[in-house]
């Protein structure tokens, strides 16, 4: 099952050449991928731009713009997305302040009020 939070406890870890974290859609339904504008991740004050994020949503993999190129691509509400980011040094073992701002287009809200921005900050642990 998922954590209630957008940023999931499971999934935050070093990877070859960077690190990754998992996000759930903090909304009540899944979305066509084209409605997702992107996510800005910050770790200990270091910000990672939305266009540098590599997404994995189930079988879908790649930058968001490539995933959304497929008209049938969706982010289901009960599937956490893995956000991969490049970083020269691995994150140190121990605590890190992790923030994410997820931007999404809600068609039923006037465009001048969009995108809707979900923001969250959590203290997560790199355990190895």
């Amino acid at each position: 099952m998922l954590d209630t939070t957008m940023i999931q406890t499971r999934g935050f870890k070093n990877t070859p050449g960077g690190f990754e974290l998992r996000l759930r859609l903090p909304y009540y339904r899944g979305l066509w991928a084209g409605l997702i504008e992107g996510v800005t991740v910050t770790v200990d004050g270091e910000t990672f731009a939305p266009e540098d994020a590599h997404w994995t949503i189930g079988e879908l993999r790649g930058p968001l713009r490539e995933i959304a190129a497929s008209e049938s691509a969706r982010w289901p509400v009960d599937v956490a997305a893995v956000i991969g980011l490049r970083r020269d040094q691995p994150l140190s073992i121990g605590f890190h302040d992790v923030a994410a701002e997820l931007a999404i287009q809600m068609s039923y809200i006037p465009e001048e009020l969009q995108p809707t921005l979900w923001t969250e900050q959590r203290r997560l642990v790199v355990s190895r």
Binding site: M1, L2, D3, T4, T5, M6, R24, P26, Y28, R29, G30, L31, W32, G34, L35, E37, A68, E71, R74, P76, V77, D78, Q105, S107, Y108, I109, P110, E111, E112, L113, Q114, P115, T116, L117, W118, T119, E120
Partner: protein, 297 residues
């Protein structure tokens, strides 16, 4: 004229629990357990691999309806006109989206399909594609035996151009496959501020949503003949079984007096604390059934 009210639940109510503490199985079992007979879902939330559920999912769907004695009521759908970055959807694409959901809803046994339409102006004018696209799918709705029913939902009000336009479409075409869905949040007497969930805000600019007037329940009288389904939106029933946000007694008085028949489909939209949805739904059903018993006795 004597109507019959039935009780249902929309799985939207379990938003804070779904995928966190409750599976789809749990949600559907909970609906039956609390004594409801009507089941409402959101296509894009609750159907695995929407819009193409695997056979195993379909089999499980019908098996559950049967085991729990539940009737599918309304299927929530969306027409996301900003689905393709940089442009609005075309009329053909809107028709395609509606057709997809009508067919899928009918296949699952639903009688009502609620398309949520995009808005184009700050005063919530729907995207103009709604009318031609709707007209083009009325035949399919008839063939699939479903009624398309856009939702009157806060911050929209009953006395508005959009509702007038919906009714005009019904009167002009004489269709039996288009109606209104009444979300009781429209009648909220004060604003509930939900706790829990992930904080969100609208946009990066300074624009803010319009202030919404309180809608008197009496406005319902004008449109009730077109209302085919009620989403019994609520936020909190307190420890005395009182709701301080939605005037249920007044609302139910109108439905009973007018002999309205259909489902009251609960939409819990209150605080997200774990376990709260299941408890609040039971409180609401206890309250609604108690009030209806008084009205009809």
């Amino acid at each position: 004229m004597s109507g019959s009210l039935e009780y249902g639940v929309s799985l939207y109510s379990y938003t804070g629990e779904y995928g966190v503490t409750m599976t789809l199985d749990d949600c559907i079992e909970d609906v039956a357990d609390l004594g409801a007979t009507g089941l409402e879902i959101l296509g894009e939330a609750h159907i695995e691999d929407y819009p193409n559920p695997p056979t195993a999912w379909l089999d499980a769907w019908f098996e559950r309806l049967d085991r729990f004695g539940l009737t599918p009521t309304c299927y929530g759908s969306w027409v996301d006109h900003r689905r393709f970055p940089g442009r609005d959807i075309t009329e053909d694409e809107a028709v395609q989206q509606l057709e997809t959901d009508i067919r899928l809803a009918a296949r699952l046994g639903f009688k009502y399909v609620r398309p949520k339409l995009g808005v184009v102006t700050a005063d919530l004018e729907p995207h103009p594609v709604w009318e031609p696209a709707t007209l083009r799918v009325l035949d399919l709705a008839e063939q699939q035996d479903v009624i398309i029913c856009p939702e009157i939902h806060w911050p929209s009000v009953i006395r508005s151009k959009v509702v007038d336009d919906y009714i005009a479409l019904i009167e002009r075409t004489g269709t039996k496959h288009f109606g209104l869905l009444m979300d009781t949040g429209v009648f909220q007497t004060s604003m509930h501020h939900r706790s829990g969930g992930v904080p969100s805000r609208m946009g990066r600019g300074s624009a803010r949503p319009p202030i919404t007037p309180v809608v008197p329940v009496s406005d319902l009288e004008d449109v009730l003949q077109h209302v085919v389904h009620v989403q019994a939106k609520f936020y909190e029933i307190d420890d005395e079984l009182q709701d301080h946000y939605i005037p249920w007694a007044e609302f139910l008085e109108v439905l009973v007096r007018r002999g309205w028949s259909g489902f009251l489909s609960s939409e819990y939209e209150g605080d997200y604390a774990t376990g709260r949805a299941a408890d609040q739904l039971r409180r609401q059903h206890a309250l609604l059934r108690t009030l209806v018993a008084k009205e009809t006795s």
